[in-house]
């Protein structure tokens, strides 16, 4: 193992351990430190996870769009792999948002789904990201796939603010900052930091995977040996 790989491996382990420590801290804060909510009781604690993964899914969509634009300008395939990695982790977070939202809605309103604006916007984002993967899987040529999916990512990025606005106006709801106990706010902030760190770590690891896969594909073509 050369020096660069050793440094990278040690770095990855260190970051992983740090994120694990943050998770442990966040877990303690959510279940022990945070006060019990008066109306919803312990079920309310799912909100810390729900808001955090929702934030990460939006971050993923934005990162997907920005790195896609970078690819179109620089034509460096690494930017396309960043875009794909961010989209995948973002989509995973969107899925978690919908699941936690449904669980919360079932307890709060006795229904698995409600056309509440944020859930609606998240569902649309989930479908848009799904479409992005569908487009990628329809194109075999690597450069063409990168180029066309970059365009779609940029269209999606431009659309997201309007989707959010439209779904909020649709339900006649204006943005409201809920009244939160100061301790709850601290827990929420910690949870946001933890999940952001996890999002970044997963995206970097996934991008690294895609880099290695591209390298293998290149070697297969050069040598004619298919693994």
């Amino acid at each position: 193992m050369n020096r660069n790989t050793s440094v990278r491996t040690i770095g990855a382990w260190a970051v992983g351990l740090a994120v694990a420590a943050l998770f442990a801290l966040t877990g303690w804060m959510v279940f022990v430190f945070a006060p019990r909510e008066a109306t919803m009781g312990d079920v309310q604690r799912i909100v810390y996870l729900h808001i955090s993964v929702a934030w990460c899914s939006l971050a993923g969509a934005v990162a997907m769009g920005l790195t896609a634009a970078a690819y179109l300008i620089r034509r460096n395939p690494a930017w396309d792999r960043w875009s794909q990695a961010a989209a995948e982790i973002g989509w995973l977070c969107a899925t978690l948002t919908l699941v936690t939202g449904s669980l919360w809605a079932h307890k709060a309103w006795n229904t698995w789904w409600t056309w509440e604006p944020r859930l609606t916007a998240m569902l649309v984002l989930w479908v848009v990201l799904g479409g992005y993967f569908l487009l990628r899987s329809s194109i075999e040529d690597v450069q063409r796939r990168a180029r066309l999916s970059a365009v779609l990512a940029i269209l999606a990025l431009a659309d997201i603010p309007m989707i959010i606005m439209a779904t909020r106006w649709f339900r006649g709801m204006h943005p409201v900052t809920p009244q939160m106990d100061p301790r709850m706010r601290v827990v929420l902030l910690t949870s946001l930091v933890t999940f952001t760190a996890l999002f970044v770590l997963l995206t970097v690891l996934r991008k690294r995977q895609l880099d290695l896969a591209a390298r293998v594909a290149s070697l297969e073509q050069k040598t004619g040996i298919v693994t």
Binding site: V124, L134, I139, A150, V151, L155, A156, M162, A166, W169
Partner: protein
């Protein structure tokens, strides 16, 4: 190329598309027939008390219009791929932005024609006039159709040259145009119940979407058609 040259080129591109459709009508008749069938099926299934019709007829109208409109969008580029015409078009000294604007214009005219046929159809079937305030309704229809045509032209260009493109256009387009669908439906609803404030707010969102996607389309179309 001067602005006059660009305008002239744009005009002859639109003229060519309209002439082709006139000579061998493939898209417009099918699109109009589908719209009529959708209008009939929707009106048949939804039995509402008469006083609730103004609240819902706009939604039914726009759903039929957008679903049928995807047919025009689907054919706008696939028709060019016959006989290599698309390759020929891109060999001319014409910027890709101009080609996009010309395709957009042809698609916009198609969906406007569709709307012009659907309005009396829905009025006949539902007994509700969509034209109680014709000026504002026309404004909403124009900006909604423009935004829909812009997004649809881009997605159609993205998917037209793919081998396995069946259904991909609709899957990619409908989530992206959610702000247009919601906007058009809500603007029409507010107009029919006489709430002009609500109508104006939604029409502004539609205009914003149209401006964003027409501008974005002009900028990114070159990346879509590049090989």
């Amino acid at each position: 190329m001067t602005a006059a040259d660009t305008l002239r080129t744009w005009w002859w591109l639109v003229h060519k598309d309209l002439l082709r459709e006139l000579r061998a009508p493939r898209v417009w008749p099918a699109m109009l027939l589908l719209a009529l069938v959708l209008a009939m099926v929707i009106e048949l299934q939804i039995e509402l008390p008469r006083q609730q019709h103004p609240e819902y007829v706009g939604g039914m109208f726009w759903l039929a219009a957008f679903f049928a409109g995807t047919m025009a969008l689907d054919r706008s580029f696939s028709g060019e791929h016959e006989q290599g015409c698309w390759q020929g078009l891109l060999l001319y000294p014409v910027g890709p932005g101009t080609v996009f604007l010309a395709k957009l214009t042809a698609n916009f005219l198609a969906v406007c024609t569709l709307g012009a046929v659907l309005v009396p159809t829905f009025m006949l079937l539902s007994g509700i006039s969509l034209l109680t305030r014709p000026g504002p309704f026309l404004v909403t229809a124009v900006v909604a159709n423009l935004g829909f045509a812009a997004a649809g032209t881009l997605v159609s260009a993205l998917t037209s040259s793919l081998a396995h493109r069946n259904g991909l256009l609709v899957l990619l387009l409908l989530p992206l145009v959610l702000p247009v669908v919601l906007g058009a439906v809500q603007a029409t609803r507010f107009l029919l119940v006489g709430q002009l404030d609500g109508w104006w707010r939604w029409t502004q969102l539609l205009a914003c979407f149209a401006v964003v996607f027409v501008t974005l389309g002009t900028l990114v179309f070159g990346y879509i058609v590049e090989e």
